[in-house]
């Protein structure tokens, strides 16, 4: 089945700096369940990239398999997309990123895709510090196969069929922190005020930026007793900070008390303004952030916001010392050493 969206848009719809309206950033009509958290995240992605005035074709969107991995069809229709195999989006993203360092890579995955079958690839993408945004749409269950528990389901959480999860949970944000990710955030699909600036910050961040977005599954995991339901998450939210993305040359007007705020400056001079709400935590200290995550979990709180960031760190291209020109733009004469070199090699082999 192919769904078609109405093409009509308001003639006076807002335009970004490139003269594009939101329409240029939208995708096909979603085929997910009505009310699915994932659709809110898709909308936040559209809004974030639109507001950042990034030409849509400069973004490559990649995903694995599952409900979450279907979403790249529903946003950024003018961007190339790659729906790969289950749990293997990180390796495909790695290859794509190696081929062209100049595009923005937006990886979308789910809790099944990244915390189970694709755990190995998730881990190693972080280790290599790909310059990409990695969003996990985390609903604690396997929606597309009708609601089995996933590895991020909390112990004791009850799903729609009444089954209680007996296993420990994997905290994706905590894990990313442990593995050395340089930008780690958690958010909630129902909180777009928080999610949009987080996405904008992650896209602008020069390194691996991870956002674990709790995104309730309205069909299989939104019942009483589930710790990934809208009601539960709303009741247990603890926001560590408010965040605003400040584009270049825009003045900061807010007056923030010392010790309560911070800035993350990006490559291009833009920066993130961060207003701390939690007092027992320092977002530039990995240990403090890990402690915060553990403590919140102990208190049955869902801690959200930008949990950790680190000033500039070598990305994979820096580590591999590749040339400035994207590898996919190198021409024959730049790649082939030619016959005379080959004859020298032959001579050494005699």
């Amino acid at each position: 089945m192919t769904y078609v969206k109405p093409a009509f848009r308001h003639p006076e719809a807002a335009k970004n700096k490139l003269g594009y309206t939101r329409k240029e950033y939208e995708g096909a009509l979603s085929t997910l369940c009505a009310g699915c958290g994932h659709d809110s995240i898709s909308a936040a992605i559209v809004q974030g990239i639109f507001e950042l005035s990034i030409p849509p074709h400069r973004v490559a969107k990649l995903s694995g398999i599952g409900c979450s991995s279907k979403t790249p069809t529903y946003f950024l229709g003018n961007s190339h997309g790659f729906n790969s195999v289950h749990g293997r989006m990180p390796s495909v993203a790695t290859g794509a990123y190696l081929a062209n360092k100049d595009l923005i890579y937006l990886g979308v995955s789910g809790d099944g895709d990244s915390a189970s079958i694709g755990m190995g690839q998730f881990v190693h993408a972080i280790r290599r510090n790909l310059n990409m945004v990695y969003i996990v749409m985390n609903n604690g269950c396997y929606g597309l196969t009708k609601g089995q528990d996933s590895a991020t389901a909390d112990p004791g959480s009850i799903n729609k069929s009444g089954h209680t999860n007996l296993f420990e949970t994997i905290d994706m944000a905590g894990m990313a922190l442990e593995l050395g990710a340089s930008f780690v955030a958690r958010s909630f699909s129902g909180d777009k005020e928080q999610l949009i600036p987080l996405i904008k910050a992650a896209v602008s961040f020069p390194g691996f930026a991870f956002i674990d977005v709790i995104s309730p599954c309205v069909t299989f995991n939104n019942n009483k007793g589930s710790t990934k339901s809208y009601d539960y998450v709303r009741d247990h939210l603890e926001t560590v900070a408010e965040l605003d993305f400040v584009p270049l040359a825009e003045e900061i007007t807010s007056d923030i008390a010392s010790g309560e705020s911070g800035r993350i400056t990006m490559h291009d001079g833009t920066y993130l303004q961060i207003n701390k709400l939690a007092l027992d935590w320092d977002p530039t200290d990995r240990i403090s952030s890990l402690t915060k995550i553990h403590r919140s979990r102990m208190n049955q709180e869902v801690v959200t916001g930008l949990l950790y960031y680190e000033a500039e760190r070598k990305n994979l291209h820096d580590i591999l010392n590749t040339v400035d020109t994207p590898l996919n733009a190198l021409e024959y004469y730049e790649l082939c050493p030619g016959n005379s070199v080959l004859q020298t090699i032959n001579a050494e082999l005699r």
Partner: protein, 620 residues
Amino acid sequence: MSRIEKINDCVIRFANVNGTGSASANNLFAKAIFRMGVPVSPKNIFPSNIQGLPTWYEIRVNEKGHLGRRNGIDIMVSINPQSLAKDIASVSAGGYFIYDNTKPMPKGLLRDEVNNIGIPMTEICAQNYADPRQRLLFKNMVYVGAVATLLDMEMAVLEQMVSDQFKGKEKLITPNVKALHLGRQYLIDHFELPSKFRIERRDLNKDLIMIDGNSACALGALYGGATVAAWYPITPSTSLMSAFDEYASSYRLDPKTGKKKFAFVQAEDELAAIGIAIGANWNGARGFTATSGPGISLMSEFLGLAYFAEIPLVLIDVQRGGPSTGMPTRTQQSDILACAYASHGDTKHPLLFPSTPRECFEMTAEAFDLAEQLQTPIILMSDLDLGMNEHSSQPLVWDDRRNYKRGKVLNAAQLDEIKEFGRYLDVDGDGIPYRTIPGTHPTKGSFFTRGTSRDEMARYTEESEPYVRNMDRLLKKWDTIKNYLPAPEWQNQEQENKMGMLYFGTSESSSLEAADLLEEKGIHLDLGRIRAFPFHPSIADFIQDHQKIFVVEQNRDAQMRTLLINELDVDPARLIPVLNYDGLPITGMLIHDKIMEHIGYASTTLTDQHDLRKTSFSAS
């Protein structure tokens, strides 16, 4: 004094302990024969271990140029007590057994029908070198000097080899040369020479080089424009990837900044390795990976994706003994079916079968063009024998007028010109659609790559018609592919001949030797070397034109034969399997014997004929 029996025709085997530096000494010895202009082929038969287990290095010298493996060991150099008894037993009667007699040999082991040459190697080294590590290493050079003398080789060539090998470490040249001469002198002083085997200078290696197939593949990838190399360590493909890294680090640097015009990534597993290569190709860079059998199994899901989503990819399979972990350091051609039909659903992949290092180079470079032109994975089927052993090979040549064939890729200007872009539209009628690279055009040419069913416009669909249309187009593309791949190599074709032989990859040299042996007996075979799958139309004709075709391959289940039967719909009775799957390279004699057996001359087999006991050799 014994009569010289054989000039430039013998098999020498060194039995060593892994990790004692013997491989480089043995290699030096083989290369010296090569430099004397005599055809030679060394084979390293090594364990899956780093230190302490038995390892053998076998050298075949053959003036006629038959360089496949041969049964029968003429000269055995035994340095490894672990394999002593077996090594003694393996020498052809009348051959030579060279051993370290510093300690007395256990009684009853030495055979009377073998010429036994005891050299106190350990003692010689203990007397001449102080450092224990040196004593161990120079022992290798002592036996090299002794064997070279036994074969009446030119010492100047060996000395030059030592100088070349230790270029930059000049201090090591003198003690190494000294060790060579210690071995030589002992032999001269204690044994009657010359022996019945000699290496005599010829000029048969003009222009040739000695190179292993893995290095040649690595150079092919370098010249073929590979920029993203992702891999996971596995024998026997590891050295291919490290050779690529080394060559690229020498010849692919930006002259101004010293930065790399390539990315070399050791992945966390084979799944990630192929995923990285696919991601790179999707994004317009030439990415590749190399692996062996177990890696092929792991990569199969991704191969299906690349087939169905039509993403270029070069994959090199350096085959080893299977199934499962199998014989990881032995050779086989046993991934044919696994690669041809890798992945679930209706999938098939083009395969290339190189026979020589030169072909490894050319086919690897070519594979990158093919992958992009055909938008599908191309699998190069090498094996351990070809990949890890040095072979004498035609020199590598590159035509500087060549450019890369990038296939049907639309740029921004072309996208503006055309009316409509559909990723899977068969615009040209050859089954090969047009693709675009991410980032090309702000509003045109974007599409969604997926492993799910889709229509010509790359939109997800579960409708039957567009799914079937797509599957049929892929089949049409498969037909187109046949015209792009290297044609078979036909030899010896005679009118009205009823029998033929098909072979591929590293079975070539032994197949040709077998054909020669059979010809001597008046049995003529028309010969064909398969170089690619899907099969060239001439292969079906060849099978049609012959009553019996022997299909030579190095696996148990006659996989190539199965593939021929399955794809060409030919009468299975015509295809007679000739198989070897013991992990060692197939020999010409085995092929000869099996064919003789089949056609009813079972009385004499060549494998038993290496009895040289009629000649004598006396130790003085």
